[in-house]
């Protein structure tokens, strides 16, 4: 089987973002999606710290300390972009004005519960940022993560063992093995990577999956 690498995963997510969408990309892996948005599509990227219309990374030497994304990386502003304060930024999020957000995850449950902010360990220092607002606020919540933990356990689970970010909030999961929709009647496999059968994906995942006619 051909597992997707991080850039291939980002490109796969980017393919599903339609022209005209307003999108928030979470820090880390989801930020890569911005590099793979198809040229010619007009897509507006939002960042929690108060910017709409994020453009590509600045050229070396052109970075500006005052123009950052939520991951505190230097960015540029597209023509038509705008700045606003934090309460307005989260009004956009909570008020259901974003079409999509893309978030990383530790675990997603069969019901679409999301765990991505805290391992729950006694010594772990929690940090939540805007994840809980995005989880309840975006019209569609897309999760992007590796299918299995380093130990080979499925990150798609019956019930999240880590503390929740949001309950029943995930719409679609993109992993390095498959694309899976979270629906009221369970998990629907949209596609699997080349060389991976539905049966093998089912074996690796553990929780029940439904096969779409078009999936391998």
């Amino acid at each position: 089987m051909k597992k997707l690498d991080r850039n291939q995963m980002a490109a796969r997510v980017a393919r599903d973002i339609p022209d005209g969408s307003v999108v928030n990309l979470g820090i880390g892996l989801p930020t890569l999606v911005g590099d793979h948005l198809p040229k010619g599509r007009e897509i507006i990227l939002h960042s929690e710290n108060g910017v709409l219309g994020i453009g590509p990374r600045p050229a070396p030497g052109q970075e500006d300390e005052d123009l950052m994304n939520a991951g505190k990386e230097p960015v540029t502003l597209l023509t038509g972009g705008s700045y606003f304060h934090h309460a307005d930024s989260f009004a956009m999020i909570r008020g259901r004005h974003l079409d999509f957000c893309v978030l990383g995850a530790f675990q997603v449950s069969v019901a679409g519960d999301l765990a991505n902010w805290h391992t729950g360990g006694a010594d772990a220092i929690p940090a939540v940022g805007g994840a809980m607002d995005l989880a309840v606020g975006a019209k569609k919540v897309l999760v992007m993560m590796e299918h299995l933990t380093k130990k080979g356990e499925s990150k798609i689970v019956e019930r999240c063992s880590y503390p929740l970010t949001g309950a029943r909030c995930v719409n679609r999961i993109y992993t390095d093995l498959a694309v899976i929709d979270v629906k009221a009647d369970g998990l629907h496999v949209i596609e699997t990577v080349e060389g991976l059968s539905f049966e093998e994906l089912q074996r690796l995942t553990g929780v029940p999956l439904k096969r779409l006619a078009s999936a391998a």
């Binding site: 108060g50 970075e63 304060h85 940022g129 805007g130 949001g166």
Partner: protein, 238 residues
């Protein structure tokens, strides 16, 4: 808490202070202080340095993070002036001063989702007694809080965050305290300005009254008490 006011010189409103030290001289021990900024963007570094030099202790700090590296808010934490911090994202690769205090039990943390943090600050400034938000419902950050079903959604009651002082950074100010910002350095500053009894602003440039375009003023001077000019280049390479 001492009364916070601008210095009235010759019967005109003049909120300009000569130095950060003068503008922060009356911050008492135990004050709640909001500090603007998201990363380095909008961080009022000169005001934080002056607060460290000023020496107030047992502070409650409101910021999105809990300090980065060894300067700014991290240096205030390192100096053990902070008893409690309200923030959304304390843990970062370079938050070692917070991490050490937290693990040693020497600082109290109130972790607040970022949008809830912003709205609690906004609510304080707008005179709102609380609000119901869907954020965090069903998670451990909603434990012990009142919740309510409104329509077909579940919400959590959140209360305003008031402050004694807000230390923020803006780009330009006039002597009335009208402010403009630069790019994403705006972040928490406008809402913090409204939520504190005494808002102190570090600006790159002060200008004559009337030279800021009224259509472009983001924070009207009513929310600002003191302004300190700290000269800096317009663009600082990140």
């Amino acid at each position: 808490m001492p009364q916070c006011s601008a210095i009235i010189r010759s019967l005109v409103i003049d909120k300009l202070f000569a130095s950060a030290e003068a503008a922060l001289a009356d911050i008492p021990n135990g004050a709640t202080v909001m500090i603007g900024g998201f990363g380095n963007a909008g961080m009022p570094a000169a005001l934080i340095d002056a607060l460290i030099a000023q020496g107030a202790r047992d502070l409650t700090i409101v910021n999105n993070n809990a300090g980065n590296g060894d300067t700014g808010l991290a240096a205030l934490l390192k100096a053990k002036r902070v008893k409690k911090i309200l923030c959304s994202f304390p843990r970062q690769a370079d938050s070692w001063h917070f991490d050490g205090l937290y693990r040693a039990g020497e600082i109290e943390l109130e972790l607040v989702p970022q949008g809830t943090l912003a709205e609690r600050i906004r609510a304080a400034g707008a005179g709102i007694g609380g609000f119901y938000t869907p954020t965090a419902f069903g998670t451990r950050l909603a434990e012990g809080k009142e919740s309510r079903r409104i329509g077909d959604r579940d919400y959590v009651l959140e209360l305003p965050i008031h402050a004694d002082y807000a230390l923020i950074k803006a780009d330009r100010a006039d002597r009335w305290g009208n402010l403009t910002y630069r790019m994403t350095a705006r972040n928490f500053a406008p809402i913090m300005a409204s939520a504190a009894k005494c808002t102190v602003v570090q600006v790159r440039e002060t200008v004559e009254l009337g030279s800021l375009d009224p259509e472009a003023i983001v924070t009207p001077g009513i929310f600002v008490k003191r302004v300190v000019r700290i000269a800096a280049p317009l663009q600082k390479v990140a």
